[in-house]
Amino acid sequence: MKKFTKLGAVSALSLIVGASAAFAENIKIGFIDPLSGPFASTGTNGLHQYEFAVDYMVNDKGGVLDGKNFEVIGFDNKTSPKESLIQLQVAIDQGVRYIVQGNSSGVAAAITEAIDKHNRRNPDSRVLFLNYAAVDPSLTNEKCNFWHFRFDANADIKMDALTDVIARDEGIKKVYIIGQDYSFGKSVAEAAVEMLGEKRPDIEVVGNELHPIGKVKDFTPYSRKVISSGADAVITGNWGADMLGIGKSVIENGFEGPIYTYYAAGSGMTAAFGESGKGRIRLIAQGSINPIASEEARDLYNAFLEKYPEGNIDQSRIFNSIGMLARAIEEAGTADDVVAVASKLEGMEYETMWGGTMYMRPQDHQVIQDMYVGVHTDEDVEFDFDSSGFGIVTESVVEMASKDIATTCEMKRP
């Protein structure tokens, strides 16, 4: 027995030594997003997609720079900007040079500012910020910096595509805009009002309101207002529990029209909407899941389902960000000099397996890509979300959406 224990201890030790030797060469990617609290599901699903993306797209294919692997490390920021900055410091101390984050533009603003400062003060340990979902336009406008890259379309680009679709629907005369009370929610509302005003001046905005983020227990009073306003359509940028809350509530309380959203899929939401949201919930996203855009994407999705049978690929931009980062590192010939990597990311054109080409605009580091508006349904669904039979089926495509959208960014390069 004693011998056995000894053997166990030795082998465990050698495993640890072996593992750390293997990890020494890894390129570390720090994932800073909520892994606990009301938005835990959104964050955790993002982490799973990242972990899978680096294994499937990079590590299993021999890594980058002759055998270096990507390693994703999760840091829980509890959706708090303050906590994020602590976690950012922890990540940098652990040797992370690539930060990915996406949930909440408030957090992203704090991180991008902190990274800018850090990089100026510590030229030896500079880091890049790959933003995969925080879509407040200011991040690539007045708050832009050289270290920040956005792989998701920003709120204005999404609203531009969404309002194109709304403008085509002659039945819509009145819309109600509701969102979370923070920078992103406000910019969604502003963009919606402005763009609807240009494209369909006859549409009346009958409600425009913000609610506290992550704190509303019951959305009934809000949905009462939506219904009594006589709105034909609802526009919301809500995500996580707030999206499900408002969506379920307006449908249950008698709203009949379509709900245009940014994030009403996956993370248990698709299953929870189920039959009640069929043909009603529309969302704007990059990449087409149904029908799937390419064979490569189909293989990847099936491999993902093998690893996470209950999982969803609801953020295909995560895969794009890893693909583009890997290519930039290969082209730069280094992973340590992030300036070189960033210079390769700038202006990169990348054929994505999710459909179309991605172009990283050098002037503001905003990716330009095809945008898809899909509908929540159970018909013609190859890849459902939440194993529910329901999924998002593409209804219309806007190619290279808003590729000439103006930016106020004045990029300072090192």
Binding site: S36, S41, G43, N45, K215, K217, K225, N253, G268, A271
Partner: protein, 318 residues
């Protein structure tokens, strides 16, 4: 006008749901002097258990079984956890319940994951009971009202009209005397804790399909329950009811009507500053009632604590 009626009903539903949570908490507090931080976690457990049972046996068995399981769990927590910690005083008890709340949240995430659960209203109640000016009132809400009112009447009856209730009330104020008379006070404590948590569990069962079943559900409701029992008066069932309804209606109406601070201030004689952009009080002037709806109960609590520290119906005699 119709909207007022609709809001009255919505507020009633919110308030009664809050009551089911606060009733158990206030009883437990008055009896043991313990603020049970894990109370809302039992509410969450109720929802998850009911969801799990509803998959196999349907919603109604979930409604019946889940609160019982939660109650038994609660009684177990009292018997094997709180009772042992009790001898060390109130602070360790508080810390114990706080830790329990964190533990339950982690456990729930461990077993069910972090996603929303597709726990839905049962088919038979999934229709519109009636509508008022285009606003439909789902039948499930009416069902919620009936369940909560039934619980209130039942509790009131047990506490005031039965022998068990008499002993509980006596044990509330004079535990040593009751013990000397030959009653098993620890057993009563355990029973009350069990029933209190079962009520929280029941609230979870009927709230889960409407408010969503996810690991953060205890967190979003946790603090408001404490506010309710402070406003109502610690230990008072009527107080809990009145405070719950008050909070339910207060928040519902504040969210439904866009009352602007500007109008209120103008109404009481202040004039709007000329250049709002530079005014130091700009944020105050531009507040609307939906924005502050969720902090109104806290403001009410502060006012109550200043002017009537024992709460609306509380009798402070320590």
């Amino acid at each position: 006008m119709e909207l007022i009626l609709v809001n009255l009903i919505d507020g009633l539903v919110t308030g009664l749901l809050l009551f089911m949570l606060s009733a158990g908490l206030t009883l437990i507090f008055s009896m043991m002097g313990v603020l049970n931080f894990a109370h809302a976690s039992f509410y969450m457990l109720g929802a998850y258990f009911a969801y799990q049972i509803s998959i196999a046996l349907g919603f109604w068995m979930g409604l019946l079984l889940a609160p019982i399981i939660v109650g038994v769990l609660g009684a177990g927590v009292e018997r094997y956890g709180l009772r042992r910690v009790h001898q060390y005083g109130h602070v360790p008890e508080l810390i114990f319940t706080f830790g329990l709340a964190l533990l339950i949240e982690e456990l729930v995430q461990f077993i069910w994951g972090k996603n929303q659960m597709p726990y839905n209203v049962p088919e038979i109640l999934n229709f519109t009971a009636f509508s008022i000016a285009g606003n439909s009132i789902p039948a499930f809400k009416i069902f919620m009202i009936f369940v909560s009112v039934g619980i209130f009447v039942g509790l009131l009856f047990v506490l005031t009209k039965t022998r068990v209730g008499m002993i509980i009330q006596a044990a509330l104020s004079y535990p040593r005397t009751v013990e000397a008379l030959g009653h098993n006070v620890p057993l009563i404590f355990m029973g009350v804790f069990g029933v209190g948590t079962a009520l929280a569990g029941l609230a979870g069962v009927i709230a889960g399909p409407v408010l969503g079943t996810f690991p953060g559900m205890a967190f979003v409701l946790g603090s408001i329950v404490f506010v309710t029992i402070v406003i109502g008066g610690l230990g008072s069932l009527w107080g809990a009811l009145v405070a719950s309804l008050l909070i339910g209606w207060l928040t519902t109406f504040a969210k439904s009507y866009n009352v602007r601070m500007e109008d209120i201030l103008n109404g009481i004689g202040f004039s709007t500053p000329e250049n709002m952009g530079e005014s130091a009080l700009r944020d105050l002037w531009t507040i609307t009632s939906p924005q502050i709806a969720d902090i109104l109960p806290y403001i009410l609590m502060v006012l109550i604590l200043i002017f009537r520290p024992a709460g609306l119906f509380g009798k402070r005699h320590q």
